[in-house]
Symmetry: C2
Subunit: 340 residues, 2 copies
DNA sequence: TATAGGGGTGCAATCGATTGCATACAAGGA
DNA sequence: TCCTTGTATGCAATCGATTGCACCCCTATA
């Protein structure tokens, strides 16, 4: 491990050349400037002395921290760890490190965190917290900060993003329910200020039309957070209204779990009394009672793609083609849906 | 946000003093060296210009990166996110940042990661991956690297650690089962190379004695990883052996989930045919079928305590009293245990 | 009034790397 | 043989902060 703080100068002394020569020999980009023989000697000495470049010195000089900020709502939401692993793996392969921060869905906190990240001189940011209209991000974007959104998008697509095919996923879900004979399908939608909540809800309306099913606005409930509590409350309210419906689409898996709770509270059971479909296929959701039918997203891949997109923005500048990468979803049928 | 790269010199120019004076005025430790009047002017100028100290320059000069490495087996294991939040919150309050890495329980990978972390000049390390006997850590320890273990410990207690009262938790669990009338209790133990696996298993033996129950070695199975698959395999083997038992202690919640699977495979059900107790009370485990009776640990607190311990080691040097902090556990009774 | 003491600032070196420019040396052409 | 061309290396400035030391000036004391 050699904690010994060996510097370029030490290596240079050891080989008998100037530090700058060592620097050049060790950098693949400039290695050709140096005699093959010396380069070899330098490499060997660096190796044997256990030389490790000082990242601070490097960063100070080059103005690149090789660090990326990753901002998410909450790490304890099982949706995010796989995304983060995707991000970290790709970043790591390119010598970058991720620094993670949680906003707990608090805008003020988010502003502070963004500020702190930028003060830390991160080379770019990956955000999973974007709202559909996010002036704060627009500001950063305007400053030319490399920025990539993951899982969510902004309405004007002004920022590069890697998202799921939310609409496609919802169409699969509605088609599945329709195929089981459900005609009155409720939507316990997610927050409409977030692209995921909005797009999925719109897709619900579309898909109902496609399947030739009637949309009853009284079967549409909006959660103001992606949480079990919100799902439970909205579903409870809906049940209390005694509307007639046999299936429900939940804004995501947590909301679906809230629906489970509400059903249990009401003495009903899933899928006998109500079929429920979630979204995300978060880890362990297949172990719940009943195992949730849900739309699987590629957690790891959207993270990995986001990291790749960010790296390309860091390398090629923020001017490069603003693009949205959309990954396909897949319907995973489990025990929470049944024929009507 | 002011991305403008304002430096100390800029502030100095603006106020009309020397950069070193600005440095002193802005540092609370040295602020008294400066006239109150100038200090005020400097603060104001720094504020209005949007000055943000360059952390690389600071680190390069002071040799402190204000960065801490956190090494865990796998972020997607729900046990860790709450621990990490505890770590990050405490570190953040003290101006430190956590850098997280996953080993996937691969020793070689762990060695590489440790090496890379150290090359990154982290000021200290928090590890959740320690084995009972870990020569690698001993090396780091010997080099004087500030090091704190979280959740796990090493046998010789040579490294500061923050762990749960594993033994206490197991005693609660066994007493609970005994209270329900169970006399033949199996132990699907975790890896014995880890302190958690070892201590819990030893505690199982102790507790059985305390409760006056006979220990049947044929009811003891060892998993070589804390995973659903291992739990499933060991429980399947145990069931296949047709031994007589009415309850099982699982090494942790994941192993317990594996036991669920094995039971289902065998056409048996929990808790009717077998009571199961887990360990950790990981997030969402209360939503499983059946909700798992388990030992709750203070995820967030052990993380927070570990961070505090590390900070104190960083500040006061690694020589300070080597201590083990042990946090109490609590038994959470749910639906996976029933009277015999 | 001279001098010691001390508080407030400025100066300059330093942390460890990168990099434009200068230089030295070798080879090749006239 | 001399000059050009080019290549390999050294020199020194630089990134932005911190900090020991020197200095100056003001006040208190003899």
């Amino acid at each position: 491990m050699a904690q010994g703080r060996v510097t370029l100068r030490d290596v240079a002394h050891h080989v008998g050349v100037h530090p700058s020569t060592v620097s050049r020999a060790l950098n693949p980009e400039t290695r050709h400037m140096v005699t093959e023989e010396i380069a070899a000697k330098v490499s060997e000495a660096a190796q044997s002395l256990g030389y490790r470049p000082n990242p601070m010195a490097y960063s100070l000089k080059t103005n690149r921290s090789l660090t990326v900020g990753v901002i998410i709502p909450d790490l304890t939401n099982p949706l995010f760890p796989p995304i983060i692993r995707g991000i970290e793996d790709v970043l790591g392969m390119h010598g970058y490190t991720a620094v993670i921060a949680n906003t707990d869905n608090d805008f003020d906190r988010e502003e502070i965190i963004l500020d702190r990240m930028w003060a830390r001189r991160v080379d770019g940011l990956i955000l999973a917290t974007a709202r559909r209209d996010d002036p704060l991000l627009a500001e950063y974007r305007a400053e030319g900060v490399p920025l990539v959104l993951v899982n969510r998008d902004v309405d004007d697509h002004s920022i590069r993003s890697v998202i799921n095919d939310d609409a496609g996923g919802i169409h699969l879900a509605v088609a599945h329910l329709a195929g089981l004979g459900h005609r009155r399908i409720a939507d316990i939608a997610g927050p409409q200020a977030l692209s995921t909540g909005f797009l999925r809800h719109q897709a619900y309306r579309d898909a109902m039309g496609v399947e030739g099913l009637e949309i009853d606005d009284r079967l549409i409930m909006f959660c103001d957070a992606y949480s079990i509590e919100c799902g439970r409350r909205q579903m409870s309210d809906l049940l209390a209204s005694r509307r007639d419906f046999t299936a429900a689409l939940a804004g995501n898996d947590l909301i679906a779990l809230g629906c489970y709770d509400a059903l249990r509270d009401a003495g009903l059971s899933c899928p006998q009394d109500l079929s429920i479909v979630g979204f995300n296929d978060m880890p362990f959701i297949d172990k719940m009672a009943p195992p949730l039918t849900t739309v699987r997203i590629r957690h790891y891949d959207i993270g990995a793609e986001a990291a790749r997109a960010l790296l390309s923005e860091i390398d090629n500048g923020t001017e490069s083609s603003v693009a949205q990468i959309r990954l396909p979803c897949e319907l995973i049928v489990r025990g929470s849906t049944a024929p009507v």
